[in-house]
Amino acid sequence: MISIQNIQFRYPHGEFRLTIPEFSATQGEKVAIVGPSGSGKTTLLNLLAGILTPASGVIEVKKTAINDLNDANRRDFRIRNIGFVFQDFELLDYLTVFDNILHPYRITGALKLSEEVRQRAIHLAERMCIAGYLKKHPGELSQGEKQRAAICRAMLPNPSLILADEATGNLDPANKTRILDLLFENVDAHEATLVAVTHDHELLPRFDRVVDFQAFPSGGGL
């Protein structure tokens, strides 16, 4: 599913460098990424998403060398195949929960919003137990409810790869577990690959594999 070979990455303005000789994940695999702050965990997720491009090396997702795609194609590939779950949920305050879930379909021509998509969104929300909040705005939801909505948004395009950056970082312990359960449920249901950056070590045993970023050479002023 994912394959990274000998990538070298460096931010244009700064000293940080990341070198990843090799990294991979199979379809359906749940991989946790751990490491100290500034080690490049989020950078890895951005490289996998095609948001950043390496100076050298190959990044393949679903057998597509995404770093060879141009910016527009990378964005299209990303929105069709990769779902993002953020630590701060990143829901839009001015949209209802329902519109937030459908949001990816409104910001790109690569996805077509149809009645079938709307129905799927509703089913997703039901599975995430937030169907009753679809007409509310994020400001009216609890932290856990917001993250569930964010997960629905990430899952709706049926992505092959889910990238979660500290998805449980802002949740209380009870919600952490619950959210992770829901995330895993949906990942399994879609047979998607999950790469999650986390600082929550108590959650690590639930993942198929844990990758410690200290193993990869990095440095710089982070």
């Binding site: 910016d71 990303r78 993002f84 910001i107 790109t108 021509g109």
Partner: protein, 392 residues
């Protein structure tokens, strides 16, 4: 469409910011356009009225005051002239003189003392009731009747000049004979009376019992030389009725009775020029001029003032535009996180641009619609607004 939908949700959610932006843009758009509309209408009204008045004659002094009082019934009363001037014009046979005495008011509306010819000259027709017939009658302009809430058969009392001047003008109860059809001019707000009725209001004419036949000596000061001098005890009627009409009369030489102006309607162009020529003597106490020339001069001044106002509005408008740009820029900064998120989700740069542009387009569209609505209201009421402004 998606970008419009998202933009619509955004402006709806941020109501306060949206309202302020829309209001600001509407204001800077509406102000100059509304002002332009009102000024254009002012020009039109002033010119139409002035051009339809061939020649105006009055005592030498401010021509503008004379025009404003005679054509628009402004309450600034010009220097008075006398009825004798009317007879002089009549004797020349160059023009039809239409005297005006615009001095008094009735419940805030100017009383225009004139002759029957005025109505034909201004093409005023009766909509209700009948024209001026007898002393004490008044005919109301359409708007005056509507505002006063009176019609044919009702009474209207003239307003006293000065509540504390006991020797001054007394109120006269006039009978509303008729109401004119709308004319869309200053005539709509006026109360028309026969010139003689205006003189009665002033006290130059009055009605009382016949002192030459009365047996009540308490009202008689002196009887001598075929004349009976009455004293102040003699009661003067405050209303002219068909019963006491016979008792109304005027004292003294009517050729020196006052007027505010005379509209002269020349028989032809040559007669007009000849008549005007008679007032060119520097020692003459009277002047004759074309109202259109005076109004044209006034409009030239207005035009200069308008340029200044336009410049001020332009500067203010520019400042407003800069502020609006700043607001949008700050808004963009506030949405930076949102932009980053959708960027990370996979949104193309063009779409981001479209979303932000859609917000601007939406706000501008709403402002545009509001602007058109406000301008529509202003244009629909410009005539009335301007007329009220001119009338004061």
């Amino acid at each position: 469409m998606d970008s419009l939908y998202l933009a619509w949700q955004y402006v709806r959610f941020n109501k306060a910011k949206t309202i302020i932006l829309v209001a600001s843009i509407t204001l800077i758009a509406v102000l100059p356009l509304a002002l332009e509309s009102l000024l254009t209408e002012s020009e039109r009204q002033l010119l139409v009225r002035a051009e339809s008045t061939p020649l105006l004659i009055g005592t030498k002094g401010s021509a503008l005051d004379l025009v404003m009082n005679s054509l628009y019934f402004d309450d600034e009363i010009p220097e008075l002239m006398t009825m004798e001037a009317v007879e002089r014009i009549h004797d020349t046979q160059f023009a039809l003189p239409i005297p005006l005495y615009v001095r008094f008011q009735a419940r805030g509306h100017p009383i225009v003392g004139t002759t029957f010819d005025y109505f034909e000259f201004r093409r005023l027709s009766i909509d209700q009731g009948c024209p001026l017939t007898m002393l004490g009658d008044c005919v109301l302009g359409a708007k005056a009747a509507e505002l006063l809430g009176i019609g044919p058969g009702d009474d209207l009392v003239s307003s006293p000049d000065n509540l504390f001047d006991l020797a001054g003008v007394y109120p006269l109860k006039m009978k509303v004979a008729g109401v004119l059809a709308p004319n869309h001019s200053a005539d709509d707000l006026a109360v028309f009376v026969d010139l003689k009725t205006a003189w009665v209001i002033q006290g130059l004419g009055h009605g009382h019992q016949d002192v030459t036949r009365t047996r009540d000596n308490s009202v008689v000061l002196k009887r001598a030389d075929g004349n009976v001098a009455a004293n102040a005890k003699l009661y003067h009627y405050t209303e002219i009725t068909e019963d006491n009409l016979d008792n109304f009369h005027f004292h003294g030489d009517m050729s020196i009775y006052p007027l505010t102006a005379i509209i002269a309607v020349p028989n032809d162009e040559k007669s007009g020029a000849l008549l005007r020529g008679r007032y060119l003597d520097r020692d003459d106490t009277e002047q004759a001029f074309l109202p259109a020339e005076v109004i044209d001069g006034l409009l030239q001044n207005i035009f200069r003032i308008r340029n200044v106002i336009d410049s001020v509005i332009a500067v203010v408008g520019l400042a407003m535009v800069l502020v609006i740009i700043l607001v949008f820029t700050l808004s963009l900064r506030l949405r930076q996180r949102e932009i980053q998120t959708i960027f990370r989700l996979g949104c193309r740069r063009a779409m981001i641009g479209r979303m932000l542009l859609a917000e601007i387009v939406l706000i501008l569209s709403v402002s545009g619609v509001l602007c058109m609505a406000v301008l529509g209201v202003v244009n629909a009421n410009a005539e009335e607004l301007v007329r009220r402004l001119l009338m004061g």
